[in-house]
Amino acid sequence: MDKELVQKALNTAKLKGASYADVRLVYNVTERIVVKNGQVEALKRDEDSGMGIRVIANGAWGFAATSRLTKDEIVKTAALAVRIAKASATLKKNDVILDSKEKTVGNYQTKLIKDPFLIPIEEKINLLIQVDDIMRKVKGVSLRESELSFTKKHQVFAASDDSYIEQIICYCGGVIVATAIKGGITGERSYPGMRGHYKTMGYEFIESLKFLDHAQRVAEEAVALTYARECPEIETTVICDGSMTAIQIHETIGHPSELDRVLGTEVSLAGKSHLTLDKLNKFRMGSEIVNITADATIEGGLGSFGYDDEGVPAQKTYLIKDGIFCGYLTSRETAVVIGQKSNGAMRADSWASIPLIRMTNINLLPGTWKLEDLIADTDEGIYLESAGSPSIDDMRLNYHISAEIGWLIKNGKKTEMVRRPSYSGISYEIWRNCDAICSEDHWEVWGVPNCGKGDPMQVMYVGHGAAPARFRNIKLGK
């Protein structure tokens, strides 16, 4: 990566009047393979590179980015960033103040055993073709689809405080999906997790998913769903599998804990948050067994990294302790408002995007239950697997989450399969009604590769450590 270009950008920004500048020079390569109904439907490799320059001038922010990595273009882009900041400054109340931070110099690289880009394409296609063939043999399956995707991001971050950080992060994941259509009813089943699972690992992660071992079950359950009755609309006890718990964390704890939302700077699109500043360290968000961390240091988590896009080292902090809301996800600018230092949550999805406060790995710490004991301990309820689509209001209170599949629980046993289950409620109520969490043996850091935020929309990789958990008095259905 070109140190000279990076320095040129910083020097130009300073010369043009920036009091602070940082630069991200990013090179991304992505490979995506999709097999559908036995045919390779997509086989594509994308390279995406450029430089984003963020500055403070006249006490306000400006940002400009270019993919033309020549000295002349970088000078032009840095000057434009400063000009934009000066335009911002014509409508400010206060100067931007960042937390105090020592310069950071470092390197970070995803620990991987097998570089996915070195695995032959034929081998990867062959895996998906084999999966497809297993699903094809299950009578009643109408559509089969499987996908692998890999991204390697090489980024240099440098700032006018002499910080210089180089990171290489490898994102890896995949999904298999079977669909059965019978008489106007669609049964769809996927593996793993919430329609796919992703980590910062190498190809060894794909191997660990053992797609071939799950293909037949996935296809059979898709067919069975077309015969299952619709989930009843009742109030009952819900046991969420790990991936469902993960999406519950994402929507009802992760997003409302973003301090930029709380301070109103995302209100025009993503919305605000009910976790207002007066609730910090006071508000009961969950039952006493609910402990939530933001932890970017977990090896392999999809939201793991060495340093955020402001050069702040990855950290582990608590958002909820013993059920009490106790922390936000912060940036260098927002942390100052609550008298803290950034906990390293600022990330951009591209060289062409500005960093925003994003979830890292937001985790529900494990409890003590075995899943089979938890089901056996439940007289009546439902066990839900594989999160579908969530919907939640702009204050992150009223949520609705659907699952791919559910099994009614009666007298401590999983019984009848039901299709299109969903549940809804108020976000703090469900966590206050959480009375059991499964143990570390069931705990997994689930990857969400498509967390959206910002305007224009940025799509971010985030993770959620979660085990199956039980929630009482939940309203099923619409």
Partner: protein
């Protein structure tokens, strides 16, 4: 911004004597100014070019296809990207279903149509527009947030069979959210040109909604008569675009329309079509395969009529290509470029007067599919929800969760406004306001 000559030069350089090859260059210069708490807090300018190629190699067992893309447009980078695509295509497995990239259409005029005057907007101009918005909000002692996007695009597509298209375009998109301590109001404007946007008027609309909805009252979820303003209508209709109006869902028999062609699926007062020539929309006249767009009617007077196609699905289902390809490969298949819900003949101003008891809705939020088999979606109201009695807004109400079957809702449309508005987040929707009976709310929230 890349001009026609530069795009042609790069495309010419890329095209190789291979069985079939497609090359495209999309370039986007985006200016964005976001404001919140009545100050500018995010302000940026980005030039994002995107070169892609798709290579098709003929084999006795089918076509092998490989694709690559890059954002570096140097000659070396493009050569390397093309070489990689060829390598990937060789390493792929044959696809028996793929027939051909599109060929030029026999009639002439299949070139990019009338040139568009391009308007580039400076950060200073965007900042001045925000100041106008803030000034209006300050008059009412309200806080204001929102965004101004100004975009310039170029798109060139060519293939080895003779397709050769280039177009330039620009647009602007502004939202305003005005806020009191207990309420909010919203307005949105989309246009080709920045100077066509009346920023003060936009701010005024958002502020009036925020003022009117202060101290909202709670109502019980259930079925109500609703007046959906155009932005709410646009969001609902755009879900039909995803679920129903593309050839992929049609070919896979997943959509209702795939089983109902020629049958009545909504009320007779509903007609929905795609037409890039509609005066309110603003898209390239050709798709990402370089095929000219055609007008497609999805629903006419309540009857299911058709869906949009790209070259792959046109060959697969032996139907005409309607020019609705997205960049290949993509998971959606062909996709409507515009959705136009035909207006009615009732002035919007009179529609409120038609409500004895009901709800006025400004917009929806976080709408998601619950059951694609029935086009059931759920979401929430936001930024201006009002209780209406005897034709008058009585007070603001707390936001509600709706869960509806879109086609069933479109059977219950009592009146359609004469006026339409350009809206839509992912696809452009020209929407009137709709007065609807028995619209179901299934939950409530706390504000």
């Amino acid at each position: 911004m890349l001009d026609r000559n530069r795009v042609r030069e790069l495309i010419k350089l890329s095209l190789k004597p291979i069985d079939m090859m497609e090359v495209g260059i999309y370039s986007h210069v985006r200016g964005t100014t976001r404001f919140a708490n009545s100050v500018i807090h995010q302000n940026l300018s980005v030039e994002y070019p995107y070169f892609w190629t798709r290579i098709v190699i003929d084999t006795p067992r089918g076509k092998k296809i490989g694709g690559t893309s890059c954002t570096q447009l140097t000659i070396d980078d493009i050569r390397r990207t093309v070489a990689r695509a060829l390598e990937i295509a060789h390493n792929s497995t044959p696809d028996k279903r793929f027939v051909s990239l599109p060929k030029p259409e026999p009639h002439k005029g299949a070139k990019a149509t009338k040139p568009v005057d391009i308007e580039e907007v400076t950060p200073e101009e965007r900042a001045r527009a925000v100041k106008k918005i803030v000034k209006v909000a300050q008059k009412y002692n309200l806080d204001v947030a929102g965004v101004i996007h100004t975009n310039v695009y170029s798109l060139g597509v060519a293939n080895s069979l003779g397709i050769d298209q280039f177009g330039l375009n620009c647009d602007t998109y502004t939202t305003v959210t005005a806020m009191s301590k207990t309420s909010s109001g919203y307005s949105l404007a989309m246009a080709r040109y920045f100077n066509k946007i009346d920023f003060e008027q936009l701010a005024e609309i958002a502020c009036q909604k925020a003022l009117l909805s202060q101290n909202p009252q709670e109502i019980t979820p259930g079925k109500y008569t609703v007046l959906l303003e155009p932005h709410a209508v646009a969001e609902m209709i755009s879900f039909l675009g995803w679920l129903e109006f593309g050839a992929k869902a049609f070919a896979e028999k997943r959509s209702i329309i795939s089983k109902s062609l020629g049958q009545k699926i909504t009320g007779s007062n509903i007609t929905i079509y795609d037409d890039f020539n509609h005066p309110q929309v603003n898209t390239f006249p050709f798709d990402y395969e370089g095929v000219m767009r055609k007008k497609v009617t999805f629903i006419e007077k309540g009857v299911a009529k058709g869906v949009v196609f790209d070259s792959f699905y046109a060959h697969l289902l032996k139907k005409p290509n309607t020019g609705h390809a997205l960049p290949a490969p993509n998971p959606h298949g062909p996709f409507p470029s515009t959705l136009i819900l035909q207006p009615g003949n009732i002035p919007l101003a009179k529609m409120l007067g038609m409500i004895e008891k009901g709800i006025l809705i400004t917009r929806f939020w976080y709408t998601r599919v619950v059951d694609p088999d029935t086009t059931t979606i759920t979401g929430l109201t936001r930024d201006g929800t009002f209780w209406v009695e005897n034709g008058e807004i009585k007070y603001g109400i707390k936001n509600l969760r709706f869960t509806i079957n879109i086609y069933e809702v479109l059977k219950n449309v009592l009146a359609i406004s004469k006026e339409t508005v350009l809206s839509g987040e992912f696809t452009q929707v020209v929407a009137p306001a709709l007065l609807i009976k028995d619209f179901e709310f299934t939950g409530k929230t706390e504000y």
